[in-house]
Each structure stands twice: as structure tokens, then as C-alpha cells.
Symmetry: C2
């Protein structure tokens, strides 16, 4: 390839991993080239080669079709500024400071993905997704002119105009609390300071929210998911994207009521109920901040931004809003759009200028947590029909693709969480989580949380220890009922077959119905007819909601299923499909995504474009209120059957023929599972 | 004039007093026409004919060159909405609601200037200037859709979008504290609410800062001038512009130091000095708010905006900024630009969403008060060369016109305020304020504050009463020294002529110099040689500063002189010119403008365009630091002479010939005075 002369003077530069490329005049700094191409490379010091945030790797080897013999000829030699930095702060081999290194020939530039100095962060989940960084808060180092009686502009005014000039802000405002600090900080820093500049939206004025003397090279943010049961928090470096520390705690509001509606009732019954619950959750959040700052070895004042998500009731209580309206139709949210505030508005003691962002709520029952899950899994970012299910007391269901996204909440009740089940309990040591039933003898074997042994393996009793076997957790319930169905113990309509009592001592008469007993001796852990009914109701609600959304989308099957939340992490997708919790889908496309709400919160923390993305997506999402849809009841009734492989769109009143039941051998159901036990246990421990 | 058909369908409408005019299709509402022409007519209810704020008068009579026989044919008849309003709330004869009345023919529309319902407010000063209204805070009434499960947008989100739709805001944000209130307010108001919307700058997002159920038809603001000695506050209706109440108080910081520099010293010497002084001034401001709200019969929560001005040290202390840097060169302001905050940031308890605005400071010695005076007097708005002088411990001097404005501060010291004068005192009852000296006998006669009698008139003793004659105030000092000069008692160089002791018992030897004694008996009130020197120094500083600015502007004389502040209100311009405090100017163009700083604050409160105007003007003003100008010392030395009718631009070292002194008859100096004693007294009592 013979390049014309002007192209020879404009070498081609390719940035990895984004793949963005362009030609630049020789002598252009790599940082400038990255910025012109929209490749995000961090820089605090503004090209002074002191912060070291703009490190890149210069790759050797092939580039497009012609070979780069040695990158050394194509990039400027190590300059004095870089040498000084490398001497003082260490620069790994192969790394260059992109603010100092200039383009002298064709180049492949690798923007490093590592955790210490990088512009992007690798998600710790299996899918290796990268969160590109474009945070709302950035550190900006400047050197300010000293005061001059001939031009008596205030210290703050000169600081502002220097930041505007050096960093290209058009409009810049200043938080009030800095007015009293600016003079001292400037003089301490000998007229060099680092400002934290907050700008969440392109159209809004940027604001200086914090100031430090000299060069400040690290700042942090919080990503926090406030669940009804647990609160989970990550402390994240805003400069590298690295998760520095994580912590979780029970939501102390549990003492006011186990589930959401009992907490709303508490507010309605008690004059100070709202205040008490707001105080409780904020105090717990504050304790978590103590934990993560201690673990990360940083000060609260180093935290400059925070993203919170939660279901609508948690969202309102955390913000100090009375959730009473969420307790009854029309389930009116006080605010559904994203909430922007100062952390101080909520009494959170971080840096005095720290900001707070809450993702939008989708509907009265589908909150900011569901929005965060949507942001994390991104149905709107791809073309396959993706179903996201987040099961709690309500199941939040999102279905869609880049064309259209619909969402609903379905009243599953707490059965999936082990409540309303005779031997049900929370997922905790001693709870049965895995069950297999011998298709011939109908004898069960099971595993409990906290032990690696099956109940029929030697050493089980020792492994279980003093705790013993205490009950069945949500995932255990799903498995035992699926196994009961697959073994023929329960029929398609969910009735425990009493005639089997003659064949197995596990089938026991209890009043007018029968139970299936899992344990020998005490405690007696059994699945009663009522338990089966409770799970039938819950799964029918979940499936009816899903069906409604599929109907809205006009599809019979979905391409991808994502189980979010704790329940989703523990459940075995095969059994969920056997029971008919989820619609038909290639099993390899069904996966649990853990705390996707927390991931969504981190995305919104690290990249303000993700805030716009989810705000826009939530505006576009079609909200389906199951209570208002006549079809919901219809789907619900049909979905009571096990499994619900009914005609996907039965007409009301039409006779539905259930498919013939197929009794599977034990091995058969294990086939499509792809994750090993170890993998799943590792997942749970995260 | 035969109008073509299309013009006949587009009648001509003229709005008074602005004179703006345009053609509109028949049926256009008068309010819409006003808006299209940029004529500010208030409206809270958004054209529902309920708030009554948009009243106009439809004039009869001539319009341009053709006669309007009866306006009744040219404007729509009284409609049912207007009738309902008139019945419920009263509508004066001739008034129409501009939102309901439509244009049917050529019209002259008078936007009323009265104090009750109007869009503009008449300044109470002599010049009858009108402050056009365009406040940063406006009330916006809306009717919001009830919540709908099919479209589960939050209550606040629907409210926002309704306001955006009805009132044309592009971007609208909401103060955090309203999140917890919005649902109750909407339900109380049966889905009709009034929002206070703050938007100070066109480019910034508008913000809802307060909410009331139903129609809220009045809102208030504060305009406050924090002086070193006194604090003056106006409570102003943001809807009519009317001053509802005014109050003043001494600045309690006086107990920390009489003048500015002693207060700065107090901060430097005392660890909590800044906090104590900030607390003191804010408490006094809060007491004044109590006073004006009580007098106006309103709640603090009805106050939504506040504008404060003050000199740099007052400005910093009020904002909670350490003023130490203002105590020495380079006199660096912490912030010179306009300050925008929430009143709550300063602990001022108004409406929780109330905003606060402080005008920019011009330089380290020329504060937001001088900016307010500049805004009020508007040298930049006109073509004549205008000199504005605000005399305190420092004299703030502004000189300019629409081409160019220059400003400086001159260290006059406190002599003009009666300090450093042997018999000096503050302007208070008992203080001598007017003096005349008989040119032949050298006998004085004088008047004291609180009495209408001259000392040689019968009834003087009774009028003065128990207080007696206690000292000389600033304006009295000016007059007595000018009269002493005019009577030949002191020479051009300020020496009291001891030889006159032979002619008059008023001239008394005191050590090596002489004094002029005003009173017989006790207390002995005299003008000593040191007093004359103190005034010479002060006036030399003032004149040298003025001269410097005139030199910058390249002028020998000025066209207009404005005396701002208390001293300016009391001083007689004739004597000021005799003594050489001010340069040559037509006496009729010299006037006192009272609390022009307060007027400027009101302008910024009522019209956000005035904020931009003064911000832009202050940016453009050339700041002259007298201490850095070699010429200042030169001018200062020459200006020690009485009067300083020296060569306007003497070269350094050049011999200057003083003009021959002319002894005037007593009557002669009275000649050019245009204001009667009564007028001046009335001015003082305001």
C-alpha cells in the first residue's frame, strides 16, 4: 500500500479493545487522539504527566495489512516528564503515559483493563462484560494564577475559569460549602488544586463539588441495592472502576414488618412509622459505609458519588417519602423518574459535596431495582427476546429486545422464599436445597446448605453437624415438587397420589390429604398438599405474568432467560422449567445473574451514559398492570397445572388438553445442566 | 388609510407604557399578544381567569392617526370567565383580564402600574424610574392528571410534565425536599396545585422549589443591604413589585469593631471570630425578617427569593467566608462573581426552597453594594459621563458611560462620618448638620438634627430640648469647613488664620494652632486645626481617586454626579463642590440617590435580567487599584488644597498655581441650590 504523502504524515492509530481508529498528524499525543475518537482514557492532571492515570500499552506486531516492525519508531521516545513519573511512581514495562507519548507512525494502542490503573473494569461475573467508564464525577487538577490587584477577580472565580479553560467546561458552578474553603485550599496547595467536578447531563452546568490542595488522584463511589431483606453495598474507585470493598446487612426494617405490605401498613398505622423506617434504613446504610470504608482503608470524605436502587417501597422509605399510596390501587409512585440529590439531603455523611443518584422506578410494583437489573442485562441492547425474572414476594418480570420492552409485576407471594410452606425456611445452614427422588422406590436423597454431602452419602451426619436438617429453602421446594411430579407422586393438577402410600412409607395420610415425608425421625420435614398448592399458586402467578408479557410481544417462546436475585442464584433452571415457572427456552440460554441490581447500580455509578440509557429505556418500557388484564386470570388458572405446557394462547372457556405426563429417569433431568456443583457453590459464596 | 384585507384581519395593538406594538389575528388573547411582543404581563393561573394577575386597561381615544371610536367594538365582550372573576374577586371599571379578552380591532392596552395588581413598579425616588419585572421565581398553577395504572408515571413526574407543557419549560428539575410533599399536596388540592418555579438563567434548568395545593396567588422576596453600620431590608411582592414592608437595624458586628479593618483584625485575632460575626449578622437579618413579615402580615414560608448586597467584608462574613485576605494586599476576594445559593445554606429560615442571590463584587474594596449602586444608577446604560460616589470609611467611586466604566476605592478614612473629628459624632439628634458663617462678623449660625430652627432663630433652645447640641455630624463638618473657607477663616492650604482672633472671639488659640468655636458655653463644640487636616486628607483621597478615574476616562469634567449612601443623602452638593470633594459639574446634575444599593438589590430581585446586566457590567468594569497608581499620590497632594481647582492634569513636579480665592457673600453660595429645606428633610426621613 503506497500511502499518498499527506496520509504518510497522518499515521493510523487503532485503540483496543474498542477497535476505534483514526488518522492523526504526527506529534499528536496519544491522549488527544483517544479523546478525538471518543475512547475514554482517564486523566486527572491534565497532561502534566503526574497523575499516571492515562497509561496505555503500545502493542507490537501486525496492524491492518502491513507490519509494524517496531513500535519504537512509531511512537515518540520516552520524554523527561515520563521518565520523572516512572522514577517517582513506577511505570510497568511496555506502558507509556498517553499524555506525553506522541504519534510518530501507525500504532496499535491497548487501553489496559487491569484493576489498578485502567479506564474500564471487568465485570466479575461469568459473562466478562466490560463497563466503560464515563462517571458523573471527575477529578480535575489545575494550577491557578495568584491574585493580582490589577485584575481583582476572586480566588474562586480564577479557579473556575482555569478549570473551564484547561478542561473545556462551558458552564461551571460551585457548591456553596466550598466558598469558605477555597482560599485556604489554594494557599495550602500553593495555587495548585484538584477539583471534583460533577456533571451528570451534557446540558446541565458542571459543578465543582469538592476541592483538595495539590494533586488528588483517587475518588470513590457507592453502589447500593436496598432490598426488603438485605442491603448490599459496593465501594468502587471512580478512577479505575475497581470494586474496593463490598458489604451486606439485613434490612433493619424487618422489625417493622417482614414483607413490603406489612411495612406499608406499619406506616399507615403509626404516626411516626415512616420516619422510623427511614431512619432505620439510613442508619444501616451508614453502618455499611463504615464497613466498606474500613475495609477499603479510605475516608468517608473520599466518597463523591453514590447510586442507590431498591423496590418502590424501599426507594420511597429511603428517600423519606410516605409509601402509603403504594399500598393500594392505583399504586401511585410519588416519583418515578430518576432522583438526583446530594447525599447530604438524605443525611448521608460522605464528602460534603457528594451526589446521589437513584435509578427510575418502572411502575408502582416494579422499582429501581428492576430498572437496575434491566440496565445490567440489557434486553434493550440486543435483538433476542430476553426474559428477566426477579422473584421475591412479587416477581418482577421484564421481557423484550431492542425493538420493544414490556414489564409487569406478578403477585407470587412469599412461597418461593420458603414462607407459607409447612417446613419452609430462609436459605441458611441446615435448609434442604437439593432433592432427588428415586423413581422406583420413591426414596428421597437431599443436600443441605452448609454441607457438600448428599443425605445418602457416608459422612452426611458429621457434615451437617449440630445444626442438623432444619427445613426446606426456596430452591429446595422447587426441586422436591419437581421431583415429586417427575416421580409420579403428584399429578398434573398437583394432587399427591394417596394410592402410593401402599408402595412407600414416604407417602403419609394427613387428614383428608397426603404428605411426602423427606426425613426420618425429628424434625419431621414433609411436603404437604397445602405446600404443593402454595407453590402451584406462586408459579401460576409467575407464569401468568410471563405469559401476559409474551402475549404482548406476540411470542410463544423466549430466546434468553435471566434469573436475577438470590432466589435466581440458587434455583436450578431445569427444575424451574419442569415445574413451568418459566416458559420454554434452550436450557443453555437460561442463567442466573446473581445481584444484577447491584451490577446495574455500579454501571450507573461508573458511567453517566448508562443513567441516560436506563432513564430512556424506562420511559419506553410498556408497563402491564396484571390486575387490570382480564387475560391474567385466565393464564393463571391454566398455569396451575404441572407443568404448564398448555396451549400457549388458550381462548377463554376453551377446553385445554394437558400434555401426557412423561416419567423421567433420574439421570435424564440432570443432562442439560451445565454448571458443576462447585461452580454453583462458588456462585453462592460470592 | 385603507388597510388591505389581510391587515384588516390583523388589528394593530399598542401596549403602554412600553410602547411595544404589533399586529395579531382577530381572536388572539391580549395576554398572548403581550407575550409575543415581550411585554411582561403576570399570570399565575395560566389563562384560567382565576388569579386576576393579568389585568389590563383598555384605553379609549386616538390610536396612531386614526380614531378608535369605541374600544368596545375592538375588544371581545366580557366573557363568562371574566364575569365569574369580577363577581368573586372584583375587577375595577375599565379593567379586563388579558387572558380572556381577545383582540377584535385596533387597541391601545395599558399595563397598569399600580401597586395592587401590576406588572411593573414605580420606584419611589424622584426620578420615577420603572423596574420592569422578570423575576427568577414565578408561580405556576397547573391541573395534573390523576394517577393511572396503565401509565404508572409518578405523581411528581406528571406534575412536572404538566408544568412543562402548560408553561413551556424545556428542562425542569425539582428540589429534593418536595419529594415527600408532592403526593399530599396534589391530593389536598384535588390535583390542582401552584408551583413556585425558579429559573435564574435562560440556559439553566428551571426548578420547582415550592408547592401549594390549589391556586397560590402571592409570593414575596427580600432585598437587603448589609452595611458596616446598618442593615436595611425590604419585603417585596414578587407578583406586583410592591414594597410591602421595610425595616432597618444596626449591624451587631459593631461590637466586634467599629470599622471594617477592625472587624477583619478581630477575625485574625480570635479563633472563632469569623463564626461569631457571621452568626451575629445572620441573627440580625433574621430579626429583620421577623419585622418585615410581621409588618407585611405574611409567613416566612411565603418568601421565595432574597437578594443581598454589602461591601466585600460584609459580603464575606454574611456568606461565612473568612475575610482575612481582604485585610492586606493583594486584597484577594474569595469569590467576586455573583453568588447563588439556597437561603437555607445560610441558615435563613424562609420557604425551604427559597433562593438567595448576592450581586458580584467589583474588587477587594469595591463590593456588591457598589455593584448594586451601579445597577441602580446605570452609568453603563447611558451616554453621559456619570460619577457615582459612595462615601464611607472607603469611598467607592464609579465613573463611566455606556462605552466604558472604571471604578476604584479611595481610603478616605472615617472623617466624613464624623469620626476622627474632635467634636464629631454620628448623624443623630443633637448633631450640627447645617452651618452658615457671617462673612463680616464671622459669627456662626447652625441647625441640629431633630430641630427645624436655626440657632439664631427664636425657639431654637426649646426645639433642641433636653438633648442640646451634642456635636457635629459628617454633613455639618463639610459645611462648617466650606463656610470657614468662604469666610476667609482658613486659607487655601487649610490653615486657620490666627490673625482673625483679633477680629472675632470665635477664633481661639489652642497650643500652636487655632480653632473655630461654634457654641457658647458647654458643650464647647469647635473645629480644630486637626479637624481641618482630617477633612483635607479625606477629601484629598476622595478627589484623588476621582481624578484618577477621570484621567483613565480622559475627561476634565463629568456630566452627572450621584451621591449614594447616608452621607450622600445629607450632604449639600454645593458645599461638596466648594470644598472640592467632587469635580466640576453642573450643580443641577448633582443629586443624592439615597439607598441606591437597596434599589439595586430590589432591581435584581424583581428582574433576573438585571442580574445578568450587573454581572456583565462588573466583568467589563476596569478596576483601578489606587495603591498601585503612582498618579494617585500626586493627585492626593494637590487635592489637599481648598478648593482643589488645580490644573486637572498637573505633571509631576510641575509648579501648580492655585486659583485666586474669592470670598463669597453668604447669599451667593445659596444660589444654585434647588431643593428646599423641606425637600431635604423629607428625603432624610425616608
Amino acid at each position: 500500500m503506497n500511502a499518498p504523502p499527506d496520509i504518510k504524515d497522518h499515521p493510523l492509530v487503532l485503540f483496543m479493545p474498542s477497535g476505534k481508529r483514526g488518522r492523526f498528524p504526527k506529534g499528536t499525543s496519544v491522549l488527544d487522539a483517544a479523546r478525538q475518537l471518543g475512547v475514554y482514557v482517564e486523566s486527572v492532571c491534565g497532561g502534566r504527566a503526574t497523575c499516571g492515570r492515562c497509561q496505555v500499552e503500545v502493542q507490537e506486531g501486525h496492524f491492518a495489512k502491513h507490519k509494524i516492525s517496531s513500535s519504537k519508531e512509531h511512537i515518540s521516545p520516552f520524554g523527561p516528564k515520563e521518565a520523572r513519573y516512572a522514577e517517582k511512581r513506577e511505570l510497568p514495562a511496555g506502558r507509556r503515559l498517553s499524555c506525553s507519548a506522541t504519534i510518530e507512525g501507525d500504532l496499535v494502542i491497548d487501553v489496559p483493563q487491569d484493576a489498578v490503573i485502567n479506564a474500564q473494569v471487568v465485570r466479575k461475573d461469568a459473562d466478562n462484560r466490560v463497563i466503560e467508564r464515563h462517571p458523573a464525577v471527575n477529578l480535575r487538577y489545575v494550577e491557578v494564577e495568584e491574585p493580582d490587584m490589577h485584575h481583582p477577580l476572586g480566588d474562586l472565580d480564577r479557579l473556575k475559569s482555569q478549570i473551564q479553560k484547561d478542561w473545556g467546561y462551558r458552564r461551571l458552578e460551585v457548591d456553596f460549602h466550598l466558598l469558605g474553603e477555597v482560599q485556604k485550599t489554594l494557599r495550602q496547595g500553593k495555587w495548585a488544586v484538584t477539583a471534583a467536578v460533577h456533571q451528570d447531563e451534557e446540558e446541565e452546568a458542571a459543578r465543582i463539588i469538592a476541592l483538595w490542595p495539590g494533586l488528588k488522584n483517587e475518588a470513590y463511589g457507592l453502589a447500593c441495592d436496598i432490598g426488603s431483606t438485605t442491603i448490599a453495598m459496593h465501594l468502587v474507585s471512580l478512577l479505575s472502576g475497581r470494586v474496593v470493598a463490598s458489604a451486606g446487612a439485613s434490612n433493619p426494617q424487618i422489625r417493622f414488618g417482614e414483607d413490603l405490605m406489612s411495612r406499608v401498613s406499619y406506616v399507615m398505622m403509626n404516626p411516626d412509622g415512616r420516619q422510623a423506617m427511614t431512619r432505620a434504613v439510613r442508619q444501616e446504610v451508614s453502618k455499611l459505609i463504615d464497613k466498606v470504608t474500613a475495609e477499603g482503608g479510605i475516608e468517608r470524605a473520599d466518597i463523591l458519588d453514590a447510586v442507590f436502587v431498591g423496590n418502590p417501597v424501599m426507594h420511597h422509605l429511603f428517600l423519606g417519602i410516605d409509601p402509603t399510596e403504594l399500598g393500594g390501587a392505583p399504586f401511585a409512585l410519588a416519583v418515578s423518574g430518576a432522583v438526583k440529590a446530594r447525599a447530604d439531603d438524605l443525611g448521608l455523611k460522605l464528602n460534603p459535596g457528594a451526589r446521589l443518584y437513584m435509578l427510575p422506578c418502572i411502575a408502582g410494583h416494579v422499582g429501581a431495582d428492576a430498572a437496575a437489573v434491566t440496565l445490567s442485562e440489557g434486553p434493550h441492547r440486543q435483538d433476542r427476546m430476553m426474559l428477566i425474572v426477579d422473584v421475591g414476594t412479587n416477581a418482577e418480570i421484564v421481557l423484550g429486545n431492542s425493538d420493544r420492552v414490556v414489564a409487569a409485576s406478578s403477585p407470587t407471594g412469599p412461597a418461593f422464599e420458603g414462607a407459607e410452606i409447612s417446613s419452609g425456611q430462609r436459605a441458611a445452614p441446615g435448609a434442604i436445597e437439593r432433592v432427588r427422588i428415586d423413581r422406583q422406590t420413591l426414596e428421597p436423597r437431599f443436600r443441605v446448605i452448609g454441607s457438600d454431602h448428599w443425605s445418602d452419602e457416608p459422612g452426611f451426619a458429621e457434615a451437617v453437624g449440630a445444626t442438623g436438617v432444619t427445613g426446606i429453602c426456596g430452591s429446595g421446594i422447587i426441586e422436591v415438587i419437581a421431583e415429586m411430579y417427575l416421580s409420579g407422586i403428584i399429578s398434573e393438577d398437583g394432587v399427591i397420589d394417596g394410592t402410593l402410600a401402599a408402595r412407600s412409607p414416604r407417602i403419609v395420610e394427613q387428614g383428608r390429604t397426603f404428605s411426602y415425608v423427606l426425613t426420618e425421625g425429628e424434625p419431621r420435614i414433609a411436603v404437604t398438599q397445602n405446600d404443593v398448592r402454595a407453590i402451584q399458586l406462586a408459579k401460576a402467578a409467575l407464569y401468568a405474568g410471563t405469559k401476559l408479557l409474551m402475549e404482548k410481544q406476540g411470542v410463544d417462546t423466549v430466546d434468553v432467560i435471566r434469573f436475577a436475585g438470590a432466589f435466581g442464584s440458587f434455583i436450578d433452571p431445569t427444575f424451574a422449567m419442569v415445574l413451568g415457572l418459566i416458559p420454554d427456552c434452550e436450557l443453555e440460554n437460561v442463567s442466573a445473574v446473581g445481584n444484577a441490581a447491584g451490577t446495574g447500580a455500579r454501571m450507573a455509578l461508573l458511567n453517566r451514559d448508562h443513567r441516560r440509557e436506563i432513564e430512556e429505556t424506562v420511559r419506553r418500557i410498556e408497563k402491564i398492570e396484571t390486575a387490570l388484564e382480564p387475560k391474567f386470570q385466565e393464564h393463571f388458572v391454566y398455569a396451575m397445572a404441572l407443568p404448564n405446557k398448555v396451549d400457549p394462547f388458550p381462548k377463554l372457556g376453551q377446553q385445554v388438553e394437558l400434555p401426557p405426563r412423561k416419567v423421567l429417569a433420574e439421570g435424564e433431568v440432570e443432562g442439560p445442566r451445565r454448571r458443576s456443583r462447585e461452580e454453583r457453590d462458588a456462585r453462592r459464596r460470592r
